[in-house]
């Protein structure tokens, strides 16, 4: 599902991944919806996941419950964007 405002959310997620995982802006700009994240990005271990999610909460003004945290929501860049957009835009 695509909501109005999704490009801003996508951009915020790119910035959070760059800042928390120490990735270059050029690298995160290449991420597409199908780009795999958790399990494929060595920088994104479970310790890093917690930082990514908490930083997303702050920047997007959302609350993520621990029981919503799953491998699926982090599987791809598109899955994470959809999850965050659902939180921030609906």
């Amino acid at each position: 599902m695509q909501f109005e405002g999704t490009p801003e959310i996508e951009n915020a997620i790119r910035a959070v991944l760059a800042d928390t995982l120490g990735l270059s802006r050029e690298r995160v700009d290449t991420f597409r919806p199908e780009t795999p994240l958790f399990g494929s990005l060595p920088e994104l271990d479970s310790m890093a996941v917690a930082g990514v999610l908490t930083e997303l909460e702050d920047r997007l003004g959302i609350l993520i419950e621990d029981d919503e945290v799953s491998g699926e929501m982090l599987e791809t860049f598109g899955a994470l964007t959809t999850f965050a957009a659902n939180k921030a835009l609906t």
């Binding site: 405002g5 801003e8 959310i9 951009n11 915020a12 910035a15 800042d19 928390t20 995982l21 120490g22 920088e43 271990d45 479970s46 310790m47 890093a48 996941v49 917690a50 930082g51 999610l53 908490t54 930083e55 909460e57 702050d58 920047r59 997007l60 003004g61 959302i62 609350l63 621990d66 029981d67 945290v69 799953s70 491998g71 921030a88 835009l89």
Partner: protein, 223 residues
């Protein structure tokens, strides 16, 4: 100035920032100490055996030994919990956490690792609980659950650091993020908090900004 790093993983992520702040302060004539509290660094106490109360006692003992000069606390994140039992000239806290927030962060580590566990189970556990490699004793968890940084102390400055919001949704009745848990903030700085970074980079400008804030505040306290 006696500095206290945060507990657990955030200590690794903030050590460089704190050391750089202390060096900047030294250049301004303010001496600093960064002790290895029980269960951290080169301490003889095993990490899994440490308690917040033991860390507070050790911190207070150090402050007592430094008594010739006014001693100020530099507490970052959960490090702000550690100076509560010490007779200090003042406390400077950066984005302080309550003990309950520390436990929430530990629970999130478990959730991120696919090993979700709820707060009640953690606090009822008779055995140590492991959070992403951190083994935490039941007594430590119980002490944390009840802990907060000192309240209504004189000369207590709270500075917070957070990334500016990236998106301000125009939602009707929307609840925006976490409600602030602290009573007061003297200064809010918009910058990416290094304790969120898996491999924090070096940010000498941020360290200098914070050292300036501390030095100016101590000068006002001593005036």
């Amino acid at each position: 100035m006696v500095a206290a790093l945060p507990l657990f993983e955030e200590s690794n992520r903030t050590r460089h920032l704190v050391v750089t702040i202390l060096r900047d302060l030294a250049a301004r004539g303010i001496a600093g100490v960064l002790p290895d509290l029980p269960g951290t660094g080169d301490s003889h106490v095993a990490t899994a055996a440490t308690r917040l109360s033991a860390m507070r006692d050790a911190y207070a003992a150090l402050v007592g030994q430094l008594g010739r000069h006014p001693v100020y606390a530099l507490g970052i994140r959960s490090g702000a919990l550690i100076d509560a039992a010490s007779p200090l000239a003042g406390r400077w806290h950066l984005s302080p956490m309550t003990g309950a927030e520390v436990i929430a962060a530990l629970l999130r580590l478990r959730a991120a690792a696919g090993e979700r566990i709820n707060r009640e189970a953690v606090l009822a556990s008779p055995a140590p609980v492991t959070f992403a490699g951190n083994v935490v004793a039941p007594d430590m968890l119980a002490e944390l659950e009840a802990a907060s940084s000192i309240r209504s102390a004189p000369r207590h400055r709270v500075v917070t650091l957070s990334s500016p919001p990236a998106y301000a949704p125009a939602k009707a009745g929307g609840q925006a993020g976490h409600p602030p848990s602290r009573e007061h903030t003297d200064r809010s700085i918009a910058a990416f908090p290094p304790w969120r970074a898996a491999e924090p980079g070096h940010d000498p400008e941020l360290a200098a900004l914070l050292a300036d804030d501390i030095a100016a505040w101590i000068a006002r306290c001593e005036a």
